[in-house]
Symmetry: C2
Subunit: 196 residues, 2 copies
DNA sequence: TTGTCAATGTCAGTAACTGACATCTATCTA
DNA sequence: TAGATAGATGTCAGTTACTGACATTGACAA
């Protein structure tokens, strides 16, 4: 048998989600979370850098997934398409946890501290994807902008996927968001500089 | 004469910038900042919600400026152009404080806590600008995306403006960033959906 | 003079987070 | 099989960000 109850980290995540939802983020202490997980406060901080991070343990997995997909995209594919396709493919990570994702997102958007953390995770994602694009030979400025635009698409698509009662998959929402963005960003005519 | 030394808030900002630069953000306590400003810790927290916020006191001014510029843009102007032009115009806020802005940005990007705060300020900016666009009659999805794309342009342009030794103005960098973004986002041909 | 009021100060308390060190227990090793 | 090992956890003391309650200050008005 195992030395201790298995999956301490997972238990902490589970306990945190429950408590944040039950009594709110501010009304939950780290000691509360640890107690519900059958651990001590000190152990919580060995697994998570702070009280917010416990809701973002999956971000590393997502980052690895997206970077790999972007890296594997056909060499001829345009940068933003490579990113959008990777984002669309990440639906497989979320599909089975739609309810969890919805609850988590509700928590995040209603607590600025959590929202901040989400935003910097997206920034890290964008940075990693930009680097992957550069490794594909995309020039630096375009790579960074394609990564940022990809994150804009991701955010929109993810939200509308969560809101979607018809349960279309994430890829569908990604395509819609990309098309919308193209409509917004495309210049009226091809030109060398903005006309304003 | 005034009851107390004037501009307590400004003195706190000044003291914080000095100390964060002298000994680093983590090695500076709020009590340190307050002491240098000739005030107490408690007073610091009456002016700023937390230790980070002291570096973002100008964000409200910037938001009001951008919202007003977007609102005043010619009705025929495309949403992203309206945002980009507003962003370009905001150069007048920064021009005279280029060195301050550079020092501040160096601090922010080297401290994740500060970076988080900057990101949520940008998110608030995007939200306010999106709303302003909707008041102009821009449909909801396009308004939000144009605001986000505008912030992407702002970030790029602001950074390259800070890095620019030739001292071209912010508007120049905004135009360059917008042109780059258009190149990245534009679909290969006009189409109804992404081709991937 | 005296009262008012906004800005500041004082003080005690909570909780996030950290460093140092102790303890536990499955497994490895002699 | 005794004992050493090592990773996971616990204990404890300390710092500091942040808050609520209440006192004080000092220009100004009545």
């Amino acid at each position: 048998m195992a030395r201790w109850e298995p999956d301490a980290s997972g238990r902490l995540v589970e306990a945190a989600m429950q408590l944040y939802r039950e009594r709110g983020f501010d009304q939950t202490t780290v000691a509360d979370i640890a107690a519900r997980a059958g651990l001590t406060e000190r152990t919580f901080f060995r697994y998570f850098a702070d009280k917010r991070e416990v809701l973002f343990s999956g971000s590393h997995t997502l980052q690895d997934f997206l970077v790999e997909k972007v890296t594997q995209a056909p060499p001829s594919m345009r940068p933003l398409d490579a990113v959008a396709r990777a984002v669309a493919a990440s639906g497989e990570i979320f599909e089975s946890r739609r309810d969890f994702a919805r609850q988590r997102q509700t928590l995040i958007v209603s607590h600025p501290e959590l929202h901040e953390r989400e935003l910097i995770k997206f920034a890290a994602l964008a940075s990693a994807i930009g680097e992957a694009l550069r490794r594909r030979g995309v020039p630096a400025p375009a790579a960074g902008l394609a990564a940022d635009a990809g994150m804009t698409i991701f955010k929109r698509a993810f939200q509308s996927w969560l809101d979607d009662t018809k349960k279309k998959d994430l890829a569908h929402h990604v395509r819609a968001a990309q098309t919308e963005l193209e409509g917004v960003v495309a210049s009226a005519r091809r030109r060398r500089a903005p006309s304003w």
